[in-house]
């Protein structure tokens, strides 16, 4: 078993004449938190969409644990253990918090129609397990008291946590977080950092992170890829990235 979980090579994405992502290469190791940073419009989310199967990359290959997943539809990518959150939270707003977590377990549940109508023991067991797992995750995230509320009515910070829980309940190997700290207050950001650390430690999940909040990125990441205008500038440890003149130039402009 190789050390590399996700391997992206030569990834290019063109929208008509616009080159949104230009030959980006990186890999994410097991148990690693890997961050992609860059100014607005650098193409970070496009990379995410390509990896997650929402866009079909123009060229390049994406491998998950050695298997090629390039151009696969997103629901199949998810079954390879690669799930994501969204920049603006995408919950099933009119479903309850609990139901959000049940839907996420769809692929692991007994979905045979007849078994469900007849309530066979197998079906009951599957429902019970799903409920138990959902309860565990609600406890873990500290939002159990809201279990029966509509997800859309949760406070924003809780919505973010629920979205992460909804990903984690599918037992992913790679969790992709698209700006998870956006709109959170400093306290919540701190909790998020602890959460990401904990997820990696306890559940052995690798994290691919896009984030603008530098203190979070520097605090939580093992390695960082910096992008600017679709092109990768450098990949390195947080300390290297922080002091690299190219990165400073990309963010602050030239003197």
């Amino acid at each position: 078993m190789s050390d590399v979980l996700l391997e992206v090579s030569g990834l290019t994405m063109r929208f008509g004449g616009l080159l949104a992502v230009d030959t980006v290469e990186f890999n994410v190791r097991r148990d690693e938190v890997f961050a992609i940073i860059g100014p607005n419009g650098a193409g970070k989310t496009t990379v995410f969409n390509c990896v997650g199967g929402f866009y079909k990359p123009s060229t390049g290959t994406i491998r998950m644990d050695g298997k090629e997943i390039t151009g696969m539809p997103s629901h199949k990518v998810a079954l390879h253990g690669l799930v994501r959150t969204f920049q603006n939270v995408r919950l099933f707003k009119q479903l309850t918090v609990l139901e959000n977590l049940l839907v996420a377990q769809h692929a692991q549940m007994e979905t045979n129609l007849l078994k469900g109508l007849l309530k066979t023991p197998g079906y009951r067991a599957s429902e019970r397990d799903a409920l138990r797992r959902a309860a565990e995750w609600l406890d873990f995230m500290g939002i159990r008291q809201y279990a029966n509320r509509e997800a859309g009515n949760l406070a924003y910070g809780h919505q973010r946590r629920l979205e992460i829980a909804r990903c984690m309940i599918t037992k992913p190997r790679l969790l992709m977080l698209d700006e998870p700290a956006a709109g959170l207050n400093p306290q919540e950001k701190h909790e998020l950092q602890l959460l990401i650390d904990q997820l990696r430690r306890e559940f052995g999940v690798a994290v691919l992170l896009i984030e603008h909040d530098m203190s979070l990125v520097m605090g939580v990441s093992d390695r960082i890829l910096v992008m600017e205008q679709g092109k990768p500038i450098m990949t390195g440890l947080p300390a290297e990235v922080r002091t690299d003149p190219r990165v400073i130039k990309a963010y602050l402009g030239e003197e």
Partner: protein
């Protein structure tokens, strides 16, 4: 107050403009000449009524409605009480036809057909959020499946019923494929076209379906193989002979009612169970956010197809029963207005709410029957009710009550 006055004045002027061409002019014939003579009196009276209503009556009404809004939640019932209530309702529905007239039972049967159709469409529109304006197409497929099987192969109702459901489901599946990528308005248009295509096919395949004349003489369902008819060929025992009764049409009607009740209860049971199952939750999730669904590994294709297929299947059962009840099917019964009515039932009841759908089916079927004298104004009243509902209660008569699964907190 000033605002009210301005609104009322504006409404009155608008009313004047709208009613002017209808009431405001009188056609006067003098010999060869026809002239239009303005009727100022009626026009100003109309405007006056609108003004008074808007200025004086509406604030009072608004106040009354505002007060009502605070207490409109249904009383919460415990599971045992609810089960008891449902049981009681079913018992009442079972024995009720024995004590009432033929016309009432007949209308009740019609209501139950619409309940079935409404619950079927509720799966597609209410649960899965796919706007389907051609639902009547599946209803037609079910009805014609039985009619044609009888006509060409001599099948009875009971043999044909599963096949009618399966056939409609197959059509639902087939329609599902091309429309998978479509959402909202586009989906509505395609399904609308689909419903019309089915109807036009039925009209034009003259040698096969009988065209506009349809197929008649379709037999009513038998009771465990004993037909319910007055006279039968030698060697067949009819139901009333078996029971030693005299033949009466009332029995036939009650029997049809009970069958419709059975079918509607089965539909209710299935749709009620399915929405609590993973597939039902997936439908609702897909309605909320397709992209999030995909990111979690749910296959939207399969989920949409299952909703279309299951909804169509219930329409098929309803159609087969309709054919048996009428004894006659022709394309006239499957026009767009029928689709619109079924959709209205779902929307009026509260999308996704099964009890609401049942209530709306009762309202929309019984009210026109009661108001027979106003038959000419039926569509007008229908439209008015819809507009008022959408203004005051856009969520429907009985909106969905969440949650369906609960976790102790």
């Amino acid at each position: 107050m000033g605002n009210h006055f301005k609104n009322a004045l504006f409404a009155a002027i608008m009313a004047g403009i709208i009613i002017a061409p209808i009431f405001g002019v009188n056609i006067v014939r003098a010999g060869m000449q026809t002239t239009l003579q303005p009727e100022w009196g009626i026009l100003f009276m109309g405007m006056g009524i609108v003004f008074v209503f808007q200025f004086l009556v509406r604030p009072v009404l608004a106040k009354a409605f505002a007060r009502k809004q605070t207490r409109r939640a249904l009383p919460v019932m415990s599971d045992r009480v609810r089960r008891g209530m449902i049981f009681l309702l079913i018992v009442i529905a079972l024995i009720w036809p024995m004590f009432t007239g033929r016309a009432q039972v007949d209308i009740a049967t019609l209501v139950l057909i619409y309940v079935m159709l409404g619950l079927g469409l509720n799966i597609v529109v209410g649960f899965a959020g796919l706007l389907d304006l051609g639902f009547v197409g599946f209803y037609a497929v079910g009805a014609y499946t039985y009619a044609l099987l009888y006509h060409w192969a001599g099948w009875g109702f009971w043999e044909a019923l599963p096949l009618a459901g399966a056939m409609s489901a197959a059509f639902g599946f087939a329609l599902g494929f091309p429309v998978l990528r479509l959402r909202g308005d586009y989906l509505a248009i395609v399904t609308l076209g689909f419903g019309e295509i089915i109807r036009l096919l039925l009209i034009n395949l003259y040698s096969f379906t009988g065209g506009p004349d349809g197929i008649s003489g379709i037999p009513k369902p038998s009771v465990f193989g004993f037909p319910m008819v007055r006279r039968v060929p030698e060697g067949v025992t009819t139901f009333h002979e078996l029971m030693g009764w005299n033949y009466s049409t009332q029995d036939v009607i009650v029997f049809l009612y009970l069958m419709a009740l059975c079918l509607a209860l089965v539909t209710l049971f299935v749709s009620n169970r399915v929405i609590r199952m993973p597939i039902g939750r997936a439908w609702e999730a897909l309605r909320e956010d397709e992209i999030a669904c995909r990111s979690l590994g749910l296959n939207p294709t399969r989920i949409k197809l299952s909703a279309f297929t299951m909804g169509a299947m219930f329409a098929g059962f309803g159609g087969a029963f309709f054919a048996a009840r009428q004894g006659l099917v022709n394309p006239e019964s499957f026009t767009f207005i029928e689709s619109a009515l079924i959709l209205a039932i779902v929307v009026l009841g509260g999308m996704g709410s099964q009890v609401g759908v049942i209530l709306a089916a009762v309202v929309l079927t019984v009210v026109p029957e009661i108001a027979r004298e106003f038959a000419e104004y039926r569509m007008l009243i229908f439209g008015l009710v819809m507009v008022l509902m959408m203004m005051w209660r856009p969520q429907g008569l009985l909106p969905v009550k969440r949650p369906q699964v609960e976790l102790k907190t």
